[in-house]
Structure formats: structure tokens, C-alpha cells
């Protein structure tokens, strides 16, 4: 970054482009996404993977995990986990479905209620974590089960079922529905939400004070507090962000499909964490990237749909996912060591 004011320092060895790229957290995810794409382009290119519609299917799957993963990546960089996002998808979806189908609320009000509910639960998660100083892994593991259990219990008590359908008419009649359900050619609007949120997360992380506080809170909460960073506030806000992102995905799903299911979003918490990790975010916090999470989500989407296009039974997807996760962690570990190597 040599400018006229600060001429190049002779002690800064001009390093190759490869070394510069390797110092970025997201580089592994970008290479990974390209590799996975090439593999399936060769393997399944003849069966529609490369068509516009094929592209739309894997981008939609990527968008579903990516919407949540943007927020989850920021929270992980701040040093915390949110395992409750999967249950939150089910719970917020049911707020929308029951609100429209059983209570007869207008769509916009049901959507607003779902977001309000998510923000409240997110605040509770964050407050519990900073107040009790317990690991967020445990606290949100608790809310994972509480939310899922309450969703199933309350839905069955109210409706006698675990699925609430028949919402299509009300959804079609509401002017705000297209914000969540429209298609642009073969591409669902959820892809735009995903890209928009990822850009927002990247901007916040790299170009705002709050972003610097996120890095600080995760890198060393005590050091950050010592210089005046409101660590607790940062964490609570991010827990609210992950819950809200889960609610957004739930709204998109329920309004698109026209029904809600209490089991929606199962395992999404793990997919979101895996996506963030593939994207270069450290499990221990303090380091990571929202752009990386975009490519992590892309990798997941390409793999999930590529397997289908290649004619392999979907049963194999989880095994692929596990291998991707391990490979990503090993690569990230190497990259981080390079980044912090002492140079004299």
C-alpha cells in the first residue's frame, strides 16, 4: 500500500501475489468453490448442471444457507456460536404460517411479528451469554431445543397438526409477498437477499467501527474492553442479527412454499457454521470474512445440487459436507499460521 506520502519501506519485502492472496481469509473458499464447480461441470455437465436452470438451482440452495451464514460468520468472528438458528427458522416460519393461516393476520403483520419474535430471542441469547459468561455453544444449544420443542408443542396445541398449509391465496393477495417470493428469470429473489446481506456484512466488518469491534471482541474480549469497546453490546447485536437472518430465511420459505412445517431448518445451524468455516472464519474468533462465507455457501450449494445432477443418491451429501469441512479447517489453520508468522 505504497502511497506518495509513505514511500515503500525497504524492509517490506515485495512478496509474490500468491503470498498476498494466501494472507486473505477467504482465498481457500474461493479456490474451493471453483474446484468443486469444475468437478461437477465435468461430471454432470451433460445432465443440465451448466444450464441457466441448473445454475439457478444451486444458487438457490447456496442462498438458503448463505443468508444465515453471513450473520453467523460475523457472530463467529466476534467469538460466539449460535446453534439456535436452525430452530429459529422453524419457529419464525410457524409465527408466519400460524399468523396468516390460523389467526388471519395480513401477511405484512405476520412477517413483522416473525422478525420481532426473532430479535427478541436473539437478544435473549446474547444477554444470557454475556451475563452468565457461559460458552455460547451451551447457551444456544439450550435454546436450540427449547425453540424447537415450543414450536412443535404450541403448533400442535393451536392447530392439532405439525404443518400449517393453505396459505397460498392470502400470500398471493398481499402486495409485500413478491419481496420474498419473486423470480427474476429462473433465479429466485432469495439470491439477491443473499448477495445483498453478504455485501452489507462485508461493509460492516471492514469499513465501520462496529466491524473493528467485532474483530476485537473475538480476538481478545479483555483487550478490546480495556480500550473501550462495548464487547457485550457487540455480541448481543450480533445474536439478534443471526436470529433475524434465520427469520428472513423462514419468511422466504413459508411465503414461497405456501406452508409452514415445525421441522423446517433442522441442521441449518451446522450448515451455517460449516459455511462460515469453509469461508475462512476461525472457530476461535477474531478472524474471518463475510465474502468467504459467500463462497462457502456456493461450495455447499454446488455440492448439494451437483450430486443430484451427477445422478448420485443424495444420501452421499453429508459425507461430502464432512470432507469439505475437514479440508477447510486444515487449509484455514495453515493460512492463519502464515498470517501471524513473526517476520524480522
Amino acid at each position: 500500500m505504497a502511497t506518495a506520502a509513505a514511500p515503500a519501506d525497504e524492509r517490506v519485502r515485495s512478496v509474490g501475489i500468491v503470498s498476498i492472496l494466501l494472507a486473505r481469509p477467504e482465498i481457500g473458499a474461493i479456490i474451493g468453490a471453483i474446484l468443486v464447480w469444475i468437478v461437477f461441470a465435468i461430471w454432470a455437465g451433460g445432465s443440465g448442471f451448466l444450464t441457466l436452470n441448473g445454475t439457478a438451482t444451486y444458487l438457490e440452495v447456496a442462498a438458503q444457507v448463505g443468508i444465515v451464514a453471513s450473520a453467523v460468520a460475523l457472530l463467529m468472528i466476534a467469538g460466539e456460536f449460535d446453534l439456535s438458528v436452525g430452530s429459529m427458522i422453524g419457529a419464525a416460519g410457524m409465527v408466519v404460517a400460524v399468523g396468516i393461516g390460523e389467526l388471519g393476520l395480513p401477511v405484512w403483520l405476520a412477517v413483522l411479528l416473525a422478525f420481532a419474535f426473532a430479535l427478541a430471542i436473539g437478544f435473549l441469547n446474547g444477554y444470557l451469554v454475556v451475563r452468565t459468561r457461559l460458552p455460547s455453544f451451551i447457551v444456544t444449544l439450550g435454546t436450540l431445543f427449547i425453540l424447537r420443542g415450543l414450536t412443535i408443542g404450541i403448533t400442535r396445541a393451536l392447530t392439532g397438526r405439525t404443518q400449517v398449509g393453505g396459505l397460498a391465496e392470502a400470500i398471493a393477495a398481499d402486495p409485500i409477498s413478491p419481496i420474498f417470493t419473486a423470480d427474476i428469470g429462473p433465479f429466485p429473489v432469495s439470491i439477491l437477499w443473499w448477495i445483498g446481506l453478504a455485501l452489507l456484512a462485508t461493509f460492516v466488518l471492514l469499513r465501520t467501527s462496529f466491524g473493528n469491534w467485532i474483530f476485537g471482541s473475538g480476538g481478545s474480549a479483555i483487550a478490546a474492553r480495556n480500550v473501550g469497546v462495548p464487547v457485550s453490546r457487540v455480541k448481543i447485536v450480533l445474536f439478534m442479527a443471526t436470529a433475524a437472518s434465520a427469520a428472513l430465511l423462514a419468511v422466504i420459505q413459508v411465503l414461497t412454499v405456501g406452508s409452514g412445517d415445525v421441522l423446517r431448518g433442522s441442521d441449518k445451524e451446522f450448515e451455517a457454521i460449516i459455511t462460515a468455516v469453509i469461508g475462512g472464519t476461525l472457530l476461535t474468533g477474531g478472524y474471518g470474512s463475510a465474502i468467504g462465507a459467500v463462497f462457502g455457501a456456493l461450495t455447499l450449494g454446488i455440492t448439494k445440487q451437483g450430486i443430484v445432477f451427477a445422478g448420485i443418491p443424495g444420501d452421499w451429501y453429508l459425507a461430502f459436507l464432512g470432507v469439505l469441512l475437514l479440508a477447510a479447517v486444515i487449509v484455514n489453520n495453515y493460512i492463519r499460521q502464515r498470517a501471524t508468522m513473526t517476520r524480522h
Binding site: 500500500m1 519501506d9 465501520t208 474483530f215 480495556n226 477474531g286 492463519r336 501471524t340 513473526t342 517476520r343
Partner: protein, 281 residues
């Protein structure tokens, strides 16, 4: 950086602190003037940490007064102390290793431009300011966009101190800044402390290493089991007397005696057999 009335930058009078039934600190006084290094010496458990926690606003004292620029103040929180120009740099907890030097430098005080929700953190500006600010204070770094983890321990401490001064600290409290460092790295930090002092900052240096304290210290306050054993000017002391005051001198002498006794009572090692040539010379 001197105040009109010539009062010390910070002065503590008869500070006492209890933790339950434990008397952590009893009637301790000290003061630091601009351009002066006060060394706070004492063994583990002497009350050094309690004292700096009071001065940096973490704990309120149970008795006694704190004066900043000659006026009595209550330091309600670390932030409060910081606003009055009292900054504390903790040994391991000063910097975040994975974050870049300039992001660390501005953490909690980021320069922003723009309005409302469009306020952006100008990273390039931060890089530039960090570079010049450090250079002015005699720290010439290679590249401030590198992670702090790439700095040596001494550089890290120096940058942390420079940051405190850059953001307006008049008094810098350094908690054992050299204890985890090697000889060369400790020298880097000590030299930087002297540079900082010459700019008119008051420094409180906490250490239990006399070899580190003596070269940079102007005055020495010795704590022992929660009470002050007095404050001494450098001119009135030798390092040996200082060690003795800390209570370490007598004990080291005792140990030396004991070791000599053990050596004296032990039979001489058997002579090697004739013709044996020692491999280790």
C-alpha cells in the same frame, strides 16, 4: 504537558483497600509529575496490582484520595480514568494478535467519515496516521497493515504505549511490561519508556525486576505486604540498596549462605581415574 500549578499529574494519598477481611493496601501514597518515571516495586502479593487497579479506575479505594492535576477526583471506571488522561497498558492484554497494527491502534477510537448510518471507518487513513504517529515516537514499523502477531514482544508493548499517548494519556501505567520479554526485547521497551518520558508523559512502571527499573526510573516506591516502605530518589540509592529494601536482598543472601553450607558439607567428588581425559572442557 505541565499544569499551571505545578501539581503532580496524579497523586494518591493514603489509599486503603480491603477485600473482605484482607487488607490489600494500607495507607499508600504516591505521586507522578510530568516527564518522570515512577517505579512501583514489590514482590508478588505486595499490593501492586490492587494499587494500579485503583489508579486506573477498576476498583474504588475504601479510604484515601486521588488527585489529578491537584484536584481531587473519583475515578468511577476505566473509561473515566482514560478520559482524565490516565491510561493503563496491561502486559498480555494490550493488543489483539490477529488484528492489523493500525486496526489495533484505533480499536475503540476509529476515525470515521460520513454521516449517520453511512459513517465509514477509513482504514487507509488509519494506516497512515498510525505510521506517522508511531514514527514521531520513534517506532519505525515495516507495514502497519500486518497483524500485530508479526511484531516482536517489545515492539508490541511499545506500540501499545504509543497508542495510549497518542490518544491523550498524560499518565501511562505500565503493568509489568517487560516481565515476559527477553533481555533485548526488554531493552526495546525500556528505551521506549525513556522516549515517552522525554515527551513529558508521566509514567508509572510496575515491575519486580530491579535491573529493568533502575536504568529508567527517576523515583522508586516500594510496596511490601500492602504498605509503602517509602519513595526514594535515584540519587539516594544503589541497585543493591533497592534490592534490600524490596526484601529480596536479605533472602538472596540467606540462600547464598545455605547453598555454600550445602556445598561445604558435601564430600569432594571422587577424582577421575588416571588416564581419563574429560570430554567436556
Amino acid at each position: 504537558m505541565t499544569n499551571e500549578n505545578g501539581a503532580p499529574l496524579i497523586e494518591a494519598r493514603d489509599l486503603t483497600k480491603y477485600f473482605g477481611s484482607v487488607v490489600a493496601l494500607h495507607g499508600v501514597s504516591l505521586s507522578v509529575r510530568a516527564g518522570e518515571v515512577l517505579c512501583l516495586l514489590g514482590d508478588n502479593g505486595a499490593g501492586k496490582s490492587t494499587l494500579i487497579k485503583i489508579l486506573s479506575g477498576v476498583h474504588p479505594p475504601d479510604e484515601g484520595h486521588i488527585l489529578v492535576d491537584g484536584e481531587e477526583v473519583v475515578l468511577g471506571s476505566p473509561r473515566d480514568a482514560l478520559q482524565r488522561g490516565i491510561a493503563t497498558v496491561y502486559q498480555d492484554l494490550a493488543m489483539i494478535p490477529l488484528l492489523s497494527i493500525s486496526r489495533n491502534f484505533f480499536l475503540g477510537a476509529e476515525p470515521v467519515s460520513g454521516f449517520g448510518p453511512f459513517k465509514t471507518f477509513d482504514v487507509r487513513q488509519a494506516d497512515r496516521v498510525t505510521r506517522t504517529a508511531l514514527k514521531q515516537m520513534g517506532i519505525d514499523l515495516r507495514d502497519t497493515s500486518q497483524p500485530v502477531g508479526t511484531l516482536s514482544g517489545g515492539e508490541r508493548q511499545s506500540v501499545a504505549i504509543a497508542r495510549a499517548i497518542h490518544f491523550g494519556a498524560k499518565v501511562v501505567i505500565l503493568d509489568e511490561p517487560t516481565s515476559a520479554l527477553g533481555v533485548k526485547e526488554a531493552a526495546v521497551v525500556l528505551r521506549f519508556i525513556a522516549t515517552a518520558r522525554d515527551t513529558g508523559v508521566g509514567v508509572i512502571l510496575i515491575t519486580h525486576n530491579i535491573n529493568h527499573a533502575f536504568p529508567v526510573g527517576d523515583r522508586f516506591t516500594i510496596l511490601d505486604r500492602g504498605t509503602s516502605k517509602g519513595t526514594f530518589d535515584k540519587a539516594d540509592l544503589t541497585p543493591g540498596q533497592l534490592l534490600e529494601l524490596m526484601g529480596g536482598g536479605a533472602e538472596l543472601e540467606e540462600i547464598q549462605h545455605e547453598l555454600e553450607e550445602i556445598a561445604g558439607s558435601r564430600p569432594d567428588p571422587p577424582l577421575p581415574p588416571t588416564g581419563y581425559v574429560s570430554q567436556h572442557t
